[in-house]
């Protein structure tokens, strides 16, 4: 059984008008079936309002399914007695770096999760040190979070989750509010967690460049899984992605346009180097 599994997951919001009367229901997540294996790097793509954040909040038991079931590490998220175990095993990083840092000093924020779990003091310090080192923020441990850059703040947030020793980390658009440099820092830290620590990663994003390294990609549209596959398979379907209102990376788009003009290139090119090699080979 996978670490995260969903079966016919449905989530409905109640829409209300200004007086609070029920206007109707919006289905944010519609019959989603996922099976994520331990150690996988999963990317979930989708434009705004496609239901990807709602799906993510189910993995951390912040939201409960309207219909269907979500299992995290074999535990049903709808069962109240499992909530804290699930939140420890599936950590979550949110979009806004300012609104998820609780401590006034970096190390205190990283220690917040273990404190809540009742970890003994000495072990908290060990966990804080190792987590901060894993994201490359150890030398900032005495700093105030307010003085850090966006990318650094998000790395602290990741360390905060890491200190809880999770099996899986869900990142809900962690780079949406960052500049390109901060985005690279965060993506690099996330990849290191997956490669080195073997933690299952679910990265939710709408930046195509960030999913190149994923093992599997899910594309969501209207609450449903519209596409599923390896990054290469997904990127080879440029027309389909465009119809789902997603931007294809520049290199992939260029390769696609060149192919349309009759230059022989393989499908689903992801990096500049690949394209350069392929072009050199075809000349």
């Amino acid at each position: 059984m996978g670490i995260i599994q969903t079966k016919d997951l449905v989530y409905e919001y109640i829409r209300r008008d200004e007086d609070g009367n029920v206007e109707g229901f919006t289905t944010a997540v519609d019959k989603v079936n996922l099976d994520i294996r331990p150690g996988e790097f999963i990317a979930i793509l989708g434009h705004n309002g496609s239901g990807k954040s709602t799906l993510a909040k189910h993995i951390n038991a912040i939201l409960n399914p309207t219909e269907g079931t979500v299992w995290v590490d074999g535990m049903d998220t709808a069962r109240q007695e499992h909530v804290w175990d699930i939140r420890q095993r599936a950590g979550m990083v949110f979009q806004n770096p300012d609104n998820q840092i609780i401590g006034q000093v970096v190390e205190e924020d990283v220690g917040f999760g273990p404190e809540n779990m009742g970890v003994p003091t000495k072990e908290i310090w060990e966990r804080v040190e190792e987590s901060l080192k894993a994201v490359g923020m150890y030398e900032y441990r005495k700093h105030s979070p307010n003085k850090l850059s966006g990318g650094q703040k998000q790395r602290v947030s990741i360390a905060g989750v890491l200190a809880m020793h999770p099996k899986c980390i869900v990142l809900d658009e962690p780079t949406a509010m960052l500049d390109p440099k901060g985005r690279r820092e965060v993506v690099r830290a996330v990849r290191a967690l997956n490669d080195v620590e073997g933690i299952t990663v679910v990265l939710i994003t709408h930046y195509m460049e960030e999913i190149i390294h994923a093992d599997r990609v899910f594309v969501m549209d209207n609450g449903k899984i519209a596409m599923e596959g390896a990054p290469r398979e997904i990127f080879s379907q440029v027309e389909r992605l465009k119809s789902l209102r997603l931007d294809v990376p520049q290199v992939t788009l260029l390769a696609y346009e060149l192919r349309k003009r009759g230059i022989r290139l393989p499908e689903g090119i992801l990096t500049v180097e690949e394209l350069a090699d392929a072009l050199a080979g075809s000349i």
Binding site: W84, M92, N99, I102, Q104, F112, E115, T121, I124, P145
Partner: protein, 267 residues
């Protein structure tokens, strides 16, 4: 402009007083303040001043820095002194125009001035030498007995420390909103008080909306990290008394004994 406001006024340096357990400092400040109100003669104030001077010396906070912080309350001090000087009935000392200065008035005025100054310097010394974080930790620990009366001690301490963390963020945001409104022609500088107060509405409304949104986000992030109140929570930096803290308490006791013993004598 708004970012220049420093709250809690912590003075970063290395000293015994800085390292002292916040509970000792909180208890000490409380005892010191209470002692000031028990004195019946000026010798008591002398002892208090001596004690304060010793603590300031140990704290390595420059006296100038402390005095600078007192500027704000000089006005208050002046009013208190003036009113006491002229409005206390008693034996007349001398009269200027229609105002009479009495012996009793002079006595109370000096008494008040000394008491207030000592009080303010003493309590500001606590915030100067204790980080806000340490202070909330100390308060939480000292108020623990109140839990028996169903006072949510842990929650209050958590609220305080989160508020402290968000002050700079909200200040920055206010700055941003003000600039945005100025860019669109808002005017905060001219007009009478009513007009200026009205001009603040377009700042406060977006600020409140954003503060609520932040609160919502933060609550979710805290729950996602297994926060469920103070029950079963461990501390990363627990408060543990050390030798210097016990010594601190001893000094405090000695001060109390001496100051109450001497300060309550009537000459």
């Amino acid at each position: 402009m708004l970012r220049d406001i420093t709250l809690g006024q912590y003075y970063q340096t290395e000293s015994v007083i800085h390292r002292l357990d916040p509970r000792v400092k909180l208890g000490g400040t409380l005892c010191y303040i209470i002692s000031l109100f028990f004195f019946r003669n000026f010798l008591g104030y002398g002892i208090a001043a001596l004690f304060l001077a010793a603590v300031i010396g140990l704290s390595h906070v420059p006296f100038k820095f402390i005095v600078k912080g007192m500027k704000a309350i000089v006005f208050l001090l002046l009013i208190t002194v003036t009113f006491n000087l002229f409005l206390t009935p008693g034996e007349a000392l001398f009269t200027v125009w229609k105002l009479t200065v009495t012996v009793e008035g002079l006595r109370t005025a000096v008494n008040m001035a000394v008491r207030l100054s000592l009080l303010i310097i003493g309590s500001s010394l606590m915030t100067l030498t204790t980080t806000p974080n340490n202070l909330t930790d100390g308060m939480e620990s000292m108020m623990k007995p109140l839990k028996a009366f169903r006072v949510p001690v842990h929650e209050v301490a958590m609220i305080m420390s989160i508020a402290l963390r968000f002050i700079p963020i909200l200040l920055e945001e206010t700055d941003k909103i003000m600039k945005a409104q100025i860019a669109r022609g808002a005017d905060f500088e001219t007009g009478n008080i009513v007009k200026r107060a009205k001009a603040l509405v377009p700042i406060l409304v977006p600020l409140f909306i954003s503060a609520f949104r932040r609160a919502n986000d933060l609550a979710m992030a805290m729950e996602a990290r297994c926060y469920r109140g103070g029950e079963g929570r461990t501390k990363m930096k627990p408060l543990v008394y050390e030798r210097r803290d016990r010594l601190g308490y001893l000094c405090l006791l000695a001060y109390l004994a001496v100051s109450i013993g001497i300060g309550r004598l009537r000459f």
